[in-house]
């Protein structure tokens, strides 16, 4: 019997990069919509905090994705090990490439905040 990789752990490790992209996307879009729509009614945050919140969210996502894309050891630890080393290696490489792709997605989404104002329509 092969000592196998646990599926849930492998899935979470494999999808760590895209999940960070999804979390970042949901946070910046949801946070932006909530702050622009009802910023004056939210507890703890205000509309003026928007640039900082977006910057922190994007910076954190970029750091995490860089770590996942660069460090095979970190991604390998997330996915787990198998008696079939080729299988673990395949999953780790796919996970790292996915993190790199997600990093591009996060940078592309985050770039908008450098040039566009917070809550205006611009037309």
């Amino acid at each position: 019997m092969v000592r196998g990789i646990g599926f849930v752990r492998a899935l979470l490790g494999l999808l760590a990069g895209p999940s960070i992209w999804a979390g970042h996307f949901g946070l910046v879009y949801g946070g932006h919509a909530a702050l622009c729509g009802a910023g004056d009614r939210l507890p703890l945050v205000a509309r003026a905090d928007l640039p900082w919140l977006l910057l922190v969210a994007t910076g954190s996502a970029v750091i995490a994705l860089l770590a996942l894309a660069v460090s095979g050891r970190l991604t390998g630890w997330l996915i787990g090990t198998s008696d079939l080393p080729d299988e673990a290696d395949f999953l780790v490489r796919v996970a790292r490439l996915l993190s790199a792709l997600s990093l591009f997605g996060v940078l592309a989404s985050g770039a908008g905040m450098i040039v566009l104002p917070g809550c205006q329509l611009l037309r």
Binding site: W21, A34, L91, L101
Partner: protein, 841 residues
Amino acid sequence: MSDSGISATPRPAGERAELLRIWATPQGWRLPSAVNNTVIGLFYLGAAFAFFLLAGIVALLMRTQLAQGDATFLSQDLYNQMFTMHGTTMMFLFAVPAMEALGVMLLPQMLAARDLPFPRLSAFAIWAYVIGGAVFFSTIFYGLAPKGGWFMYPPLTLTAYQPGDNADFWLLGIGFIEISAIAGAVEIVVGVLRTRPPGMTLSRMPIFGWSMLIFAGMIIFAFPAVILATMLLEIERAFGWPFFTAARGGDPLLWQHLFWFFGHPEVYIIFLPAAGLVSMMVPTFVQTPLIGYRLIVVALIGTGFFSFGLWVHHMFTTGIPSLSLAFFSAASIAVAVPSGIQVFSWIATLAAGRERLRLTTPALFVLGFLFIFTVGGLTGIMVALVPIDLQVHDTYFVVAHFHYVLVGGMVFPLFATFYYWAPAFSRRALSERLGRWSFWLMFVGFNVAFFPMHLTGLAGMPRRVWTYPGDIGWDGLNLLSTIGAYILAAGVLVFVVDLVRNFRPGGGAGNVWNAGTLEWLPNDVYSTRSIPLVTGRYPLWDQPNLARDVEAGAHYLPDAPTGGRETLVTSTVEAEPQYVLQMPGAGWSQVLAATFTAAFFLLLTIKLVWIAAVCGVLAVLFCLVWAWGLDPGPARGKVAVGAGLTLPSYMTGPQSHSWWAMVVLMLVAASLYIAYVFSYLYLWTVSPEVWAPAGAAPLPPLSRPLVAAAAFLAGLGLIVVAGRSLPPPGQRGWVAPIALVVGACLLATAVATEILGHIEMGLEPQATAYAAMVFLAGALAGQVVAAVLVMALFVAARILCARTDRERRNSFDHTLQLARYAVGQSLFGLLLVHGFPRLVA
């Protein structure tokens, strides 16, 4: 010794005859009761193709109307019904079902499984779709077809602007198609992850398996959003709960968010399996393994994720702040990267092939796909840019773009698939001569029809117009498009002629392309004679004697050790054999359940509420009849599966395939609930000043939700106690069924406590969108708890009949799984409904 390392000992006589008897397809009038994947897959694909032809005829009629300005060939009302039915049929009745049909037909063969793990679920999905889809489409013949466009935007589709039943046919008609799609997704996820042959690790899985896995995952997360949207709109139309009425705190844009959260991934739901099919065909064309297998897996997963970040690019003109548009514009551009990876991988494989590419019919269709889809991708980048989209939004430019993407990305690969895989399912291959005619007519016709639409759109012609003035310069381009449409139709007609002349189901013409994957192994009604041990990505190329050994029964499960239908279940990552899955055979319960499910939705549409209710009850009843025969128990013990291996014939807990199906089902329920939470919070961001509106009934005192929460937890506790009180094997018991039913009733009481609390405070769901959202939380909790209650009664009956006990316990375990989910969702709902307004007050 075989080239897989398995020793080939002669098999006893009579094994093959026994397999043929067990897997025999019902004949004559019993044929609809069949569940074999090759039979029902063919029905499924045939029905999807029939809908493609019907929607195509509708398109030709529309093009005839548009061939010249000021035409009156069709009335405006009929034209509106036609463009709605064309889009709806192509997306819901053709594209998604066709891909699921290919999954049902091809996946078990590619994985060398005897069938998908839930054969009756596939059959249920197919019959619900065939019966419901046929009735739904027929509405166009008696003027009852919906006419709000395939995306049915409110406020146009609210009762005030579209009285009558037309819109309801869409809203309820789509319901059973959604059920059908989700049932198929459950089947595909469990099938791909658990029924691969031994040795077929994830890194050796055919790319079509990966693409179908991601396809199913996307259905699980995308379809619930449109299910919720259709629920909300139908509830507003039927009962006046104002989710989309701005005057009472609702917002029509909520529909657009929910619809496109489904609608944009839908494009990739259609495209990814088609791309998977192309990745299977291209290596065979040049007899070379796919270059960049790992990158293609990355591209498929990446596309699946990114596709959920694009939905607002359908809403660039709705007045959303520019920074939000930038997020979606960026994601819309980013998704081109994984698509590009696939295109370059296919080109690289073709370029590096061991053999020169022969321009056979499937190869022509694949090359046509590459050209057309790439053009569609390029215009996709254009419309992803906000300034360009503002100019071309709702013009024929967009019509041209998405037809290039959808026809190029799905229809051309589908026709390639027909020509490529026909010999695996037909005693005769399709004609190369007719195939070439079909391709060139379709390719030329398509481009003549749709390329001019870019220009018509840039000239300002809006979409969905019934006619246009004849003197503003649009006539020539429109006439050209109409001529192209007829040429395209001629190509499809040639294919139909080819199909009629040459497609003869049964058997198979053999591995005519010298392909390397398992669907080309010799097979019969039982799939392959034995389930192979796989050692590479292209087993027929890597293991030259595999076909001979498999046919000789040298691999796994060459017989039927449990005496019935069965297949191997393997581990998810390494594909290690785990147990023998016993499967149900032919039957009528799933056909009747599907029929009454379709009847339930369709009769509701025409307001025959009581008859619809009876049909709904009958649908549930037949589902229970069907489920009564499942969960066979461990009575047969361990069985020998060949190659010296012995495996259990029954499994419970997280290793069991049905446990996985329940997890998938709960993910669907959770996705629907997340869409609800989004809707609740979205409406608050739109109108925070009326959340809750001044003068609205106050929230019940906190003691009320606390009592409801206590009842939820107590109910779940009783169900857990029931699990610990299950009787010993083969015996009956009273404690477990009583605890189970009382526990489920407590859950129902908790839901009632919550809903009654708001009613007693004077809150009315028709008054405001806020109130409607509050009651909807209760309704969604009630929906899941009702399912738990039905399952609890069912399991209680099984315990009393000695069919469920401590060891034979899957039925109970799945009820407990759903109960845990129901309580989790309900407690979160209490927190949202009672906590959020207090937080932001």
